[in-house]
Symmetry: C4
Subunit: 233 residues, 4 copies
């Protein structure tokens, strides 16, 4: 429709979006954890802001950079040849830097030290499976949404993460850049740096599983000899 | 508008959608139950993800298969002659298989045994009435939504189930395939297999009650001799 | 746009909508109250389903009857001459009957006696002010929404009631038919029959205050001599 | 598109909107605080109504006045020369008067004294940083939304504040008029008058930071020599 904005603006959009996303995840985690002893309530106080801000950020930054905020999503678009590999790498760098800045801002707002290495253990086959499922679901939703209802993608992603915080055992990181940023906070939403490789691998695996499925499932329907009227389902 | 996708893609869409739906119901039930002793909070942690994921799944899979994920809904479309009986049976098989797979995935993510027979008693006239009401409401909403605002159906269904989790005494299963899948988990969202027949019968009863009402209520308005301008209500 | 459906269908829509609305208010109140000792959590478990079902009911029944479900709203449309007085009376009868049926259904689902006179005291100037504010806000939103974004009215009403459950001291009944129906349940959402007149009067007062304000505030803008381009605010 | 409504109507819209917004913030804070001892739950009971009513108020009053309800937002539009300075001052007066009226109405509904000076301390560099971040995010969202999805601005603002209540350490006042109104309530949502200057300064700082960034980030994309087709991201 329109020409794509230049690369600097797109990188700033990716960095800014990932920063606000991580500040929301980490900040709301600290706030919730501080205010209640009930962990389900704390998770709710972490879930609602995260889902809400995702809708916002993808709506306003999507027209600039595509609003990936996520190296696994960027890798999928590179694989689909909708983004050059070099630009993809720049996107990932912007996402990681933005994410780390988000942790820093959250810490400063809540009077924590700028960074703190997380001690929260998140490892094992079940956790990895959860990350595969979470990222598979996220990328399937992104690709299905772009195919059928592009204007709804921001809401679809926000609702997917809202659900996945609860239905996956890992509370759905589903994002290598956010995982790295969350390894630098020793609060509610943290992850031990040693556990990052398992999470990151599982996230890329889930993303490419989704890419494979979508390549078949979302392909143009095989036209019937005589087209059948589709009921309004 | 467009030709309908081929049957294999539609069956995969039904199975995938029902699987993610059940994984969400069962998984978020386990998560919520694990994190809090307050049952209302646990139900909220079960409700929000379920409503959210329904919006998502119906949006991205609806254009492929119609996104029934529910034998009672499929039966209604067969009765309306919008789906051949044979295809309807295939849909139901895909839904049940997908649902069972969803329970399995949730159990593996949360380190439970692959399957466990539920011991949760859900029976009696009040519970059956609740399932009639829940499925009647769901199918009325689907048919009314398709008639007046097809693009809003995903949100309408998500919000209906969000409400019905709380206003029906059964927490609104409203879906025979999901009920079967939930009989295989001995966690927050389970149902004793012996109680399945009552639930399934009540669900089909509610669905066909809605079909009957909608046939009359949603019929084209009787045109007045001189058409009256409709106020913008 | 289209001719208006015939009166029987419109009355059934009003009765059905008010029934499901009241079943949701009363039923979710019983459910929430049963599951938790925390009253704020119970109110949340009452609020979310009510807001959600309002969006649904207004979307699917609005095109049939206008989806008033509320004598105060019906009175406003009669006053605006968009509904004949006789039809308005029939609407109100359908709303009250539907509301009472909603209480009955909720009671049967939760194994309560069919009806029980509420003992919950809700009276006094502060409560009445709260009902004036709640109904004023509701009717202003309905009229403003119809003027500027008719397709958004269902969501606007759902969100208004969601907010008003918390920001008004009366938890926002804002609806004489629903108030009457709620006098027949001695549960979380009940109101003592003796307190009905005060609530009903306050609700009509709030509705007509909104009608008066909207008549001025929403009137067509006074055109400038040379029309000024409106910024995209 | 259409001529702008006359100034009196716009000022009433600003006053009314800010009044209902503040009544919601203060009223739901009192309600939530009264019903539960869990502060996270109280904040949730404060967040959900506030986010909900913002969507409503911006939708129905935006077409009249732009629905600023916020001197920091008004200042940004004056700086962008979309509003004359004199009208901007009148907007701010209407917002402050409306906000104070909102506190009064909330107090009367909940049987509090008309006004009470807040004793809640909210000061220090971390709190100010939080207000900078909150207002920066809000104004970026408003400007980005107006640029790319003007019809979505009401929802975007509602979701932004929903998130910011939790991810900023100050629970995101982000609005000088609302801050002033909240200094007159000694309840959950109050702020000590002595702490107002720091908050107000931080809010204007955040707003103009956003204005500066948006001037560059949202500028028309530099057209490539040969326009590149934008993928549907």
């Amino acid at each position: 429709m329109t020409a794509r904005p230049d690369l600097p603006r797109r990188l700033v959009a990716e960095a800014l979006g990932t920063a606000v996303l991580v500040a929301t995840v980490v900040g709301s985690g600290i706030m919730a954890d501080r205010l209640t002893a009930d962990v389900a309530l704390a998770l709710l106080g972490n879930t609602i802001p995260t889902g809400a801000i995702l809708v916002v950020l993808i709506t306003i930054l999507g027209p600039i950079s595509g609003a990936h905020f996520n190296p696994a999503v960027t890798a999928v678009f590179v694989a689909r040849r909708e983004l050059a590999a070099g630009e993809g790498l720049a996107y990932v760098a912007a996402q990681v830097l933005g994410g780390v800045a988000g942790t820093l801002v959250a810490h400063l707002m809540f009077e924590h030290a700028p960074f703190a290495v997380s001690a929260t253990v998140r490892t094992g086959a079940s956790q990895w499976l959860a990350e595969v499922v979470a990222t598979f679901t996220l990328v399937t939703v992104v690709l299905g949404g772009l195919r059928f209802r592009p204007d709804a993608v921001p809401v679809l992603v926000g609702l997917t993460i809202t659900a996945a915080y609860w239905f996956t055992a890992s509370t759905s990181f589903a994002n290598p850049a956010v995982a790295i940023a969350r390894s630098l906070t020793d609060t509610f939403s943290g992850i031990r740096p040693a556990d990052l490789p398992g999470f990151v691998l599982a996230e890329f695996a889930g993303a490419f599983l989704a890419l494979g499925l979508a390549g078949w499932l979302l392909a143009a329907p095989r036209a019937a000899a005589a087209p059948v009227a589709t009921p309004a389902e």
